[in-house]
């Protein structure tokens, strides 16, 4: 490669510029969160004291123990159930042969494209009819329905790459299809499942519109929904608390991202390169 020293320096400078552009808005809200209400906060001022006071206040006033708990309940249930179901569909689509397979698979893939925003109106009235509006079920059930499409795509792709000999050896041994899955393929699939779980957890944790509509009028809430309400009601009085609340809501996923960044990036890419 023929790159001059100047070239290289320029490249690093430009890259650092972009990195800063991504980090600056995030860091400035973290900085705001560490300010006190009466500080005159501007774009560059750094906090003069270090204290989690604002975070504690935001947590209590915005009732974030409720929101975080709600998000954990929803995100964990959706993640576990849809990962489990996707393991099964991926296994079927990836290792078995049956009539209508292509049509069924394409049906699933449809769910990756169309906007789920379009389902929220009838979901609201349907759940209203069975008294589920305001309960976490109203968030869990539809999000499982949405997540199994990505999951099916992802787990099928994994099973297509498992050596055929393993599957066939299992069959010749006379193992039932379920035993083969449980004792041989499931252990192999753990890395792929981990990626899927990371993705589904992230999407579910961050979800907003369903929570906004389907938890209407209820005391149940999720972290992003709680943040949205809290920000609307509090920004006027004290923007530092809104900043602190934002940091709180983002933290779980950012921690997961830092540890699992390869899985996140790979997962989003594969989900994207679907055709």
């Amino acid at each position: 490669m023929m790159t001059s020293r100047l070239d290289r320096i320029t490249t690093y400078v430009v890259l650092s510029g972009f990195t800063l552009a991504v980090l600056y808005p995030l860091l400035s809200i973290v900085s705001l969160a560490f300010h006190q209400k009466n500080d005159r906060v501007t774009g560059f001022s750094l906090p003069t004291t270090f204290s989690f006071h604002t975070f504690v206040a935001a947590w209590n006033e915005g009732n974030f123990s409720n929101g975080m708990l709600g998000s954990v309940i929803v995100a964990v249930s959706v993640t576990i159930v849809s990962a489990g179901l996707s393991l099964l569909t991926g296994y079927a689509f990836g290792t078995m042969h049956f009539r209508g397979k292509t049509i069924l698979f394409n049906l699933f893939m449809l769910g990756l494209v169309f906007p789920y925003e379009a389902t929220v109106i009838p979901l609201y009235y349907d759940f209203q009819n069975v008294d589920l509006v305001g309960s976490y079920w109203a968030l869990i059930l539809p999000q499982i329905g949405q997540s199994v499409t990505l999951g099916t795509f992802w787990m099928r792709a994994f099973f297509l790459t498992t050596p055929r000999s393993i599957v066939e050896a299992g069959r010749i041994d006379g193992a039932s299809s379920f035993r083969l899955l449980r004792s041989v393929l499931f252990p192999l699939s753990k890395p792929a499942l981990l990626t899927l779980c990371a993705l589904v957890f992230m999407y579910t944790w961050n979800e907003f519109l369903l929570a906004l509509v389907l938890l209407q009028g209820s005391d149940n809430t999720t972290a992003p929904l709680g943040l949205s309400y809290f920000a609307g009601a509090t920004r006027a009085g004290d923007p530092t608390k809104v900043a602190a609340a934002s940091v709180l809501v983002a933290t779980p996923v950012i921690i997961a991202y830092v540890f699992l960044q390869r899985q996140f990036i790979r997962g989003v890419l594969a989900g994207a390169v679907k055709e």
């Binding site: 209407q216 609307g232 009601a233």
Partner: protein, 461 residues
């Protein structure tokens, strides 16, 4: 209206620090109530056995209306020991999205607040979710509580099409009107002695005078127009100098021949435009929310705040005794006219089995008798009814309560113009933002607002 920023009716929770909020000794006031044993004998609802009254409210501000409603409910339970009141509070924007479904559902509340206008109450009436209260109004003498002009906001024909006439479907508890808050201390510092102008012309001159004396970067009138609506409140006071309250109400009610295209409206828009161009509102008012602006005014930004009395406590907390209040000064008619109405009207569900108890409960909420007026004043709430005792002791609170009563007496409440169609809230917000931003002329505003009105008017025919 989408973002859950607090609505026009919202009083900031910040009012917690209210300087005029007298700590209410709940136990004290309820202990003064007659013993429950004596009342049990006179309890006309004893025959119903144990009853739970399910009550929904969007007046969830605390301090503010919520503790008032809670305390009055306790008093009601004391008076009727077999009745238990179960209160459910929700934030305004959230509440208005679900109330129609709640009243339609299997566990419909017995008593619930609606919202005046074609957006909510028309739907509740049309869908037969609430019942007319005319009989109860007679029984409890509610006719004395509200002037005819004020009661019109609760009246609908049963098809939910004609507003302002027909049966009475609800009654309101608190008076919520708009007026001028003045940082009088600041005015004095600027060397201006006129604090309380007698006419709108004087007020207009005062605004211009102050503009000349303040630094350019500071607004004369602090305004938070992010949602597009607060400038309409300010404009309502300008409009009030040129039109009558009834003419605006007729337009809101879709009375035959009513139109937004009036000389009075055009004149009022011209004044608003002159103010905007002179920098009376400063420059960043479209980026600031209503509550942000109130908070900024309370911290000393600007000299006037032209907005709702629901901000009274927040403003007082910041400015203390330097703050004064008066209604928008009158025009040539000598009468005060401004945007205002009662708080959300209390309704009785069409499905309730305990309508009589519900009506008694509503009467308890609104009648402002025996200490409940005091409760309201302690929470900076103004009793809506004409027969309410006056606020005494605190000149600021008295001026706000007096402002409401003055508007009622002079028939000057225009109500809220967004009630006139289900989309008018956003239409007015959009049009006034564009007008203030120099994107549209006054003629455009009048044309577009009237077009929204006419489109909806056709549906009513």
């Amino acid at each position: 209206m989408g973002i859950p920023t607090p609505s026009r009716r919202t009083v900031l929770a910040l009012a917690a620090t209210s300087a005029i909020g007298v700590a209410v000794a709940f136990t004290g006031s309820s202990a003064a109530r007659p013993g429950s044993a004596a009342n049990a004998a006179a309890n006309p609802f004893a025959k119903y056995g144990n009853v739970t009254l399910n009550v929904w409210s969007a007046d969830n501000q605390d301090p503010g209306p919520k503790p008032v409603i809670e305390e009055i409910s306790k008093q009601f339970e004391k008076k009727y020991p077999n009745v238990k009141v179960k209160l459910t509070f929700k934030a305004f924007t959230d509440y208005m999205k679900v109330i129609n479904l709640a009243l339609n559902g299997n566990n419909a509340p017995d008593v619930a607040e609606g919202n005046q206008g074609y957006g909510t109450d028309a739907l509740l009436v049309r869908a037969k979710l609430i019942r007319p209260l005319d009989g109860y109004a007679k029984k409890y003498g509610w006719g004395k509580y509200y002037s005819a002009g004020a009661a019109a906001q609760f009246r609908w024909t049963p098809d939910g099409k004609t507003f302002g006439k027909g049966n009475l479907w609800g009654v309101g508890q608190f008076g919520q009107s708009t007026g001028v808050f003045v940082n009088a201390a600041r005015l004095k510092k600027l060397g201006i002695s006129t604090v309380h102008p007698k006419t709108f012309a004087e007020f207009d001159a005062l605004v211009t005078n102050v503009r000349g004396k303040l630094p350019k970067s500071e607004p004369v009138i602090t305004l938070g127009n992010k949602d597009g609506y607060e400038i309409v409140h300010a404009w309502g006071m300008i409009q009030g100098a040129y039109v009558t309250g009834k003419s605006v109400r007729d337009w809101i009610f879709h009375a035959p021949g009513a139109t937004f295209d009036t000389p009075g409206n055009a004149k009022a828009l011209a004044v608003l435009k002159r103010w905007v161009d002179a920098g009376v509102f400063g420059t960043d008012y479209n980026a600031v929310g209503e509550n942000d602006a109130a908070a900024a005014f309370a911290k000393g930004k600007g000299v006037f705040y032209m907005g709702g009395n629901w901000q009274a406590a927040v403003l007082k907390a910041g400015l203390g005794s330097g703050l004064e209040f008066y209604n928008g000064p009158a025009g040539a008619s000598g009468k005060h006219v401004a945007i205002g109405s009662t708080s959300l009207p209390w309704h009785i569900s069409a499905k309730t089995k305990n309508a009589d108890i519900a009506a008694a409960y509503i009467d308890f909420l609104i009648n402002a008798k025996s200490g409940s007026a005091k409760l309201m004043y302690a929470q900076n709430q103004i009793p809506a009814i004409s027969t309410a005792p006056k606020a005494v002791g605190d000149p600021y609170l008295s001026s706000i309560a007096g402002g409401w009563q003055q508007l009622v007496k002079q028939d000057g409440l225009t109500l809220f113009p967004d009630w006139t169609t289900d989309t008018m809230y956003t239409t007015l917000g959009t049009e006034f933002q564009k007008f203030a931003g120099g994107k549209e002329s006054a003629a455009d505003v009048i044309k577009h607002v009237q077009a929204d009105w006419e489109k909806f008017d056709k549906k009513l025919k």
